[in-house]
């Protein structure tokens, strides 16, 4: 056994001590550029906006006066409620359509499944502006659907655009691919053996879904729901083009306050309020993702 040689051993220890520190520094350095962009173009403006809303017009200490004023206005309260309702309904419908589709794609083979697998992705590549416009031409009175129904003998046609229904239908159209992708990825992670095991013990499809699939797919479901909520809640283009005048979704209201009424502070106050609501939902997302990360680690 050779005696411990100091030189090489010390060099080894130095590398040992340095390695962890160096990796941390390198990691932070690589992440810095996009982080700076984020800080400069998102965090800074966001913080500036919040500070602005807390500062009264004539100077003085921080105040919630702006928020009080905004929440006191009936039309604005109506808009907030309207936004929440439309968002919840849209998310529910997207979910109700996407989950069966995701299940179908997970468990079916054959041509229909393959075609559908490509089809559902289509809205992902259509810009939201175009999607809104397309939905209008499709659903408007004297548009395609209305014409087809008329030719088939159905004379009465409900108002489907320039209102909440139109917004909801367009949001569903635009968000199906995203929801199916997330849910589908979660379903893919559930091994066939787990499903077969349930069926083997005697569970029917519905029971298998409720007891095995739903719980195991819980985290992706949470992720999908929260991201959907945040997306629909803060949207602008779809409610702007497809929605009616009043009540309006918050994205439109904010823009109107800014560009039409030229009331900047109100616009930003609304933005912060909308962000807070989205943040609550986002916190749920973070909690469920952290749980998954910890479980996977």
């Amino acid at each position: 056994m050779t005696a411990g040689v100091q030189g090489p051993r010390e060099a080894g220890s130095a590398r040992i001590r340095g390695a962890g520190w160096r990796q941390g520094a390198l990691g932070l350095a690589l992440v810095l550029p996009p982080l700076l962009v984020l800080a400069f173009l998102v965090a800074l403006p966001a913080v500036t906006a919040v500070v602005e809303t807390l500062t009264p017009a004539g100077g003085g200490g921080p105040t919630l006066a702006n928020y009080a004023r905004v929440l006191a206005a009936r039309s604005l309260r109506a808009d907030i409620v309207f936004t929440i309702v439309i968002t919840l309904v849209s998310v529910a419908v997207v979910f109700a359509l996407s989950y069966p589709l995701a299940l179908y794609l997970r468990f079916s083979r054959g041509r229909a499944a393959r075609v559908l697998g490509v089809l559902f992705m289509v809205p992902l590549f259509v810009p939201v502006v175009i999607a809104s416009f397309a939905m209008i031409t499709f659903l408007v009175n004297h548009g395609l659907v209305s014409t087809l129904l008329y030719r088939a003998g159905v004379l009465a046609f409900p108002r489907l655009v320039y209102n909440g229904t139109g917004i909801m239908l367009t949001q569903v159209w635009v968000n199906i691919p995203f929801a199916v992708l997330i849910l589908g990825a979660g379903l893919q992670a559930i091994d066939d053996a787990l499903i077969d095991g349930a069926r083997d013990v005697g569970a029917g499809p519905l029971r298998t879904f409720l007891s095995i699939i739903l719980p195991l797919n819980a985290v992706p479901t949470m992720i999908a729901l929260t991201l959907l909520f945040i997306g629909v809640f803060g949207s602008f283009t779809i409610p702007y083009l497809v929605g009616g005048n009043a009540p309006a979704m918050l994205g439109v209201t904010m823009t109107n306050y800014l560009t039409q009424y030229l009331q900047r502070t109100e616009a930003v106050t609304l933005a912060v309020l909308a962000f807070l609501i989205a943040a609550v939902v986002g916190a749920v997302y973070v909690a469920s993702v952290s749980r998954r990360e910890r479980g996977a680690a």
């Binding site: 962009v37 403006p45 966001a46 259509v126 031409t137 945040i230 994205g251 800014l258 616009a267 930003v268």
Partner: protein, 275 residues
């Protein structure tokens, strides 16, 4: 008799319901796009005709419009620029998120999601003030910066998921053969990650290209992009104009889609959304 017939009938019924549902979904997804396509080639379309009288006159109108030409050029210059810059700064960061341990890694990764959580209009108001002070309003740089913000989410999350999915053994084998960390990244990791990065690039481009709210504020009046112009067209002109413009607006994305379609697999997109 029913004992034999019922399961068969049930199966047929189930199959029929399934087929009907599929058809309904397909119509829902494709219907609006089809309508738009027909409208683009319509002269006038009177209710309750199933088809319009066809004409290309609105194409001439749109393509002859000087504003349209400017907007097309602006979009085709700014969006690729924003995407490229995004790729250069975000891909190394994505690698760091995927492979390296550093303080606040998870929090920083999550922060890129926050960019999408704050309502865009609230951001753009403040960004506009910032850009005004920096004299970047109504400039190409300003437009690119706005588009850049929209690309960050895709360019960070999807490549991070992609890099995560590459087994470390592959990189370690390269180090073992004598390649340093940088060479390993460029000759081994990046080529294997390419499909995922292509997908990220595709979505980033679409996000940059379609950005309308912020560019409306920053780009008016001399640096308008196609989506910004679209808002105006849709509201002020007959339907065929909007339809024609929609097709024009979709062309770059379609071209990229065809080019990247062999890289497109749902696994990459979903992998990007996992933390």
């Amino acid at each position: 008799m029913t004992g034999v017939l019922w399961p068969w009938a049930a199966a047929v019924f189930r199959r029929a319901v399934g087929a009907a549902a599929l058809l309904a979904l397909a119509s829902f997804i494709l219907g609006p796009l089809l309508t738009l396509l027909v409208w683009a080639f319509a002269g006038t379309w009177l209710f309750p005709n199933l088809l319009p009288e066809f004409s290309l006159r609105w194409w001439a109108f749109v393509l002859g419009n000087a504003d349209v030409g400017k907007a097309i050029r602006m979009s085709l210059l700014s969006a690729p620029t924003a995407t490229l810059i995004s790729a250069v700064i975000c891909i190394p960061a994505a690698y760091a998120f995927a492979r390296l341990e550093f303080p606040a890694r998870r929090a920083l990764l999550l922060s890129f999601l926050s960019a999408n959580a704050f309502p865009k209009i609230g951001l753009y108001v403040s960004i506009a003030t910032l850009l005004y002070r920096l004299d970047l309003m109504d400039t190409f740089t300003g437009v690119v910066l706005i588009q850049l913000v929209n690309t960050l989410l895709f360019m960070i999350w999807i490549p991070t998921g992609t890099f995560r999915g590459i087994n470390r053994n592959l990189e370690e084998a390269a180090r073992d053969a004598g390649a340093g960390p940088l060479r390993t990244f460029f000759q081994i990791t990046l080529p294997i990650a390419l499909p995922g990065i292509m997908v990220a690039g595709l979505f980033a481009f679409i996000a940059a290209f379609d950005e309308a709210q912020g560019t409306l504020i920053v780009g008016t009046p001399n640096h308008m992009t196609m989506p910004v112009l679209m808002y105006n067209l849709v509201l002020s002109y007959p339907q065929p104009v909007g339809a024609v413009f929609s097709i024009l607006l979709s062309l770059p994305s379609l071209v990229l889609l065809l080019f990247a379609q062999r890289y497109l697999r749902a696994g990459y997109l979903a992998a990007g959304y996992s933390l």
